[in-house]
């Protein structure tokens, strides 16, 4: 493949890498213990608490760093669930016969009518509020979206003449999927899964903000924002820091997705 110079991709990788770096550093070093409440309540940014402390006296920088792990983990977990199940379901529908395909795509249309966040609320309602429930729910909500996209892509490939040629020469279905379908559809899938990663991170933050995600000891950015809301006037860093990091992470993956799309599809490259 020809090397593509893409500022979008590079910028996205830098932003995303920054959050990954914060998460990695938090694994080996933290300024304070996450449950240390001895910092004095709601102190302003300065020394020794660079971003200040929250209403329980915990160091905000520490909380935000731990939050990076949770955000990345939630995004990755949800994309893993939604990606695997969605692609499997999509390939299956793509290959299904006419009326079965009609029925399944009607079902997908209905499932898509349940937006991810509502579906997530439903799962959290039935189970209890936890990070696992939230990630599972967001992942399941993603399945229909990924499946519908995969189905369209599979259909497009199957309509090609080389598939007819392969079938007439006796190639089996499994070989067609692994040899022709998947190699043709993965670039578009990867781009969309990257976008879904960003959607999942925002959905986890929203659920945690509503009190339907990770319960208190976990430093989810969404829950930090919810807790800091009441004290935004005295300690604005509690609202600014998690929000900016969310922005950096989601902007990063969105730019990566845009850059990849341009790199993988030369016909789009000229339209900046």
């Amino acid at each position: 493949m020809k090397r593509v110079r893409s500022w979008t991709l590079a910028g996205g990788l830098v932003l995303f890498g920054l959050v990954v770096l914060v998460a990695l550093v938090s694994l080996v070093w933290l300024p304070y213990d996450p449950s240390d409440m001895t910092g004095g309540r709601l102190t302003s940014p300065g020394w020794p608490h660079l971003l200040g402390t929250d209403k329980l006296g915990r160091d905000l920088l520490t909380q935000v760093m731990v939050g990076a792990r949770i955000a990345l983990g939630a995004g990755a977990g949800a994309v893993a669930i939604g990606g695997v199940l969605g692609v499997l379901a999509g390939v299956a529908t793509g290959f299904a016969g006419r009326w079965l395909d009609d029925a399944l795509s009607a079902l997908l249309d209905v499932l898509i009518a349940f937006p991810t966040l509502l579906l997530a609320m439903l799962v959290v309602a039935a189970r209890s509020a936890s990070l696992g429930s939230a990630v599972l729910a967001i992942g399941l909500g993603m399945v229909a979206v990924v499946a519908r996209l995969t189905r369209v892509l599979v259909k497009r490939v199957l309509a090609q003449e080389y598939i007819t040629a392969a079938r007439t020469s006796g190639t089996g279905w499994l070989r067609i999927v692994s040899g022709h379908v998947l190699p043709n559809i993965w670039p578009t899938l990867v781009v969309n899964l990257a976008l879904q990663f960003g959607v999942a991170v925002l959905a986890e933050a929203s659920l945690s903000y509503l009190g339907l995600g990770a319960p208190p000891p976990n430093a989810s950015w969404g829950r930090m924002l919810q807790e800091a809301q009441a004290t935004v006037y005295t300690t604005p860093t509690g609202v600014i820091a998690p929000g900016v990091l969310l922005l950096v992470l989601v902007l990063g993956v969105n730019l990566i997705a845009d850059g990849l799309r341009d790199a993988l599809d030369p016909t789009r490259r000229k339209r900046a």
């Binding site: 009607a106 079902l107 249309d109 209905v110 499932l111 009518a113 349940f114 937006p115 991810t116 966040l117 509502l118 609320m121 439903l122 799962v123 959290v124 309602a125 039935a126 189970r127 209890s128 509020a129 979206v145 781009v191 976008l195 960003g198 959607v199 925002l202 933050a205 929203s206 903000y209 509503l210 009190g211 339907l212 969404g222 924002l225 809301q229 935004v232 006037y233 604005p236 609202v239 929000g243 969310l246 922005l247 989601v250 902007l251 969105n254 730019l255 997705a257 845009d258 799309r261 789009r268 339209r271 900046a272």
Partner: protein, 334 residues
């Protein structure tokens, strides 16, 4: 193509599909709430209740009945528009939802209209003037807008306009609802702007993408070569072609706006559908959860139905296809 391409035929088929989808949605909702682990009866009794109390709670809920029988009574409830009673307040769910819609519907519609009013010109300028500084700025701002959580934007706006400048209320809604329209409108200004800004960001990207497709199209170049002015060619050819994919996205966006409202209501302590749902979930109030999710998913399906109809009115080529259209290729859905 043997299918008829007339509008009446299409209307009938699409309406049939809507009815099937509504039924399917109620089945999916029923099954998800019943089959997911977790016993709603536990919500009715206090912690450490003895088995008899739990059994009594199950009986009250009807969850001790066979699944098929439960489904029968659920359908009966739907047919009579009776959504049951709240576990917590014992009030009927249906009227309470209608009451909450008095906040959510104006919030959603106003935010949606404002978002469209921002996004249509912004997206067109971002495409048509992509090489200028303001075209680039518009693209960059919309890129930022799709990367922030909607409730965060709300918090920032509250801090600036309610806490610093003190020009608008930070949250809440008049106790007596719309009886004083001025007060009601004032308390909706910040929530509406919050949702609209975030929605406008993603919508701008779709409009920009559709506009780029139109601006680079052969038919526009041909029209220009035949002597049409840019304005005239855009009006006659560009608009009709460009607007179709945008409408399909508008349908999805209206549904997403509803969701944005659901989250934002919690930022501004508005007594709408969203805060009702969040509260019901934390209290395990199943009839309320079920009712709110049913109403909102029906609304989303109905919006999709209307968006499909409008598209077919504009573009007869689509009438052979049951649902959806070629969506524009911009990223950033949520």
């Amino acid at each position: 193509m043997t299918r008829s391409t007339g509008m009446t035929g299409y209307l009938l088929r699409r309406f049939g599909f809507l009815v099937v989808s509504l039924l399917l949605a109620s089945v999916v909702l029923f099954l998800l709430l019943r089959l997911l682990p977790g016993d709603p009866a536990n919500a009715l009794v206090s912690v450490g209740a003895d088995p008899q109390q739990i059994a009594a709670a199950r009986h009250e809920l009807g969850t001790d009945q066979p699944l098929l029988q439960q489904f029968g009574s659920w359908l009966r409830q739907l047919a009579t528009l009776d959504l049951g009673h709240s576990f917590v307040s014992s009030l009927p769910v249906g009227p309470e939802i209608v009451n909450r819609l008095n906040v959510t519907v104006p919030l959603t519609l106003a935010a949606f209209v404002l978002a469209v009013l921002i996004a249509l010109p912004a997206g067109f300028v971002a495409a048509h003037r992509s090489r200028t500084w303001y075209g680039g700025l518009l693209s960059a701002v919309s890129q930022l807008g799709i990367a922030v959580p909607v409730f965060w934007v709300g918090m920032i706006l509250v801090t600036v306009f309610a806490l610093h400048l003190r020009v608008l209320p930070a949250g809440g809604f008049p106790q007596d609802g719309w009886s004083d329209p001025g007060d009601a409108v004032r308390s909706l200004v910040l929530p509406v702007v919050t949702v609209a800004l975030v929605m406008a960001a993603s919508l701008t990207r779709y409009v920009r993408s559709a506009a780029l497709d139109v601006l680079g199209s052969d038919y526009l170049r041909t029209a220009r070569a035949l002597g049409a002015s840019f304005r005239g060619a855009m009006w006659r050819h560009g608009l009709r072609n460009g607007v179709v994919p945008v409408i399909s996205v508008l349908g999805i966006e209206l549904a997403t706006t509803l969701l944005g409202a659901v989250v934002v209501e919690n930022v501004f302590a508005l007594p709408g559908l969203g805060s009702q749902l969040a509260q019901a979930i934390s209290q395990h109030d199943y009839p309320v959860i079920q009712g709110v999710l049913l109403v909102s998913s029906f609304a989303v399906l109905l919006i999709g139905f209307l968006a499909d109809l409008v598209q077919r009115l504009i573009d007869p080529r689509l009438r052979g296809r049951l649902s959806g259209a070629v969506a524009p290729s911009a990223g950033g859905t949520r």
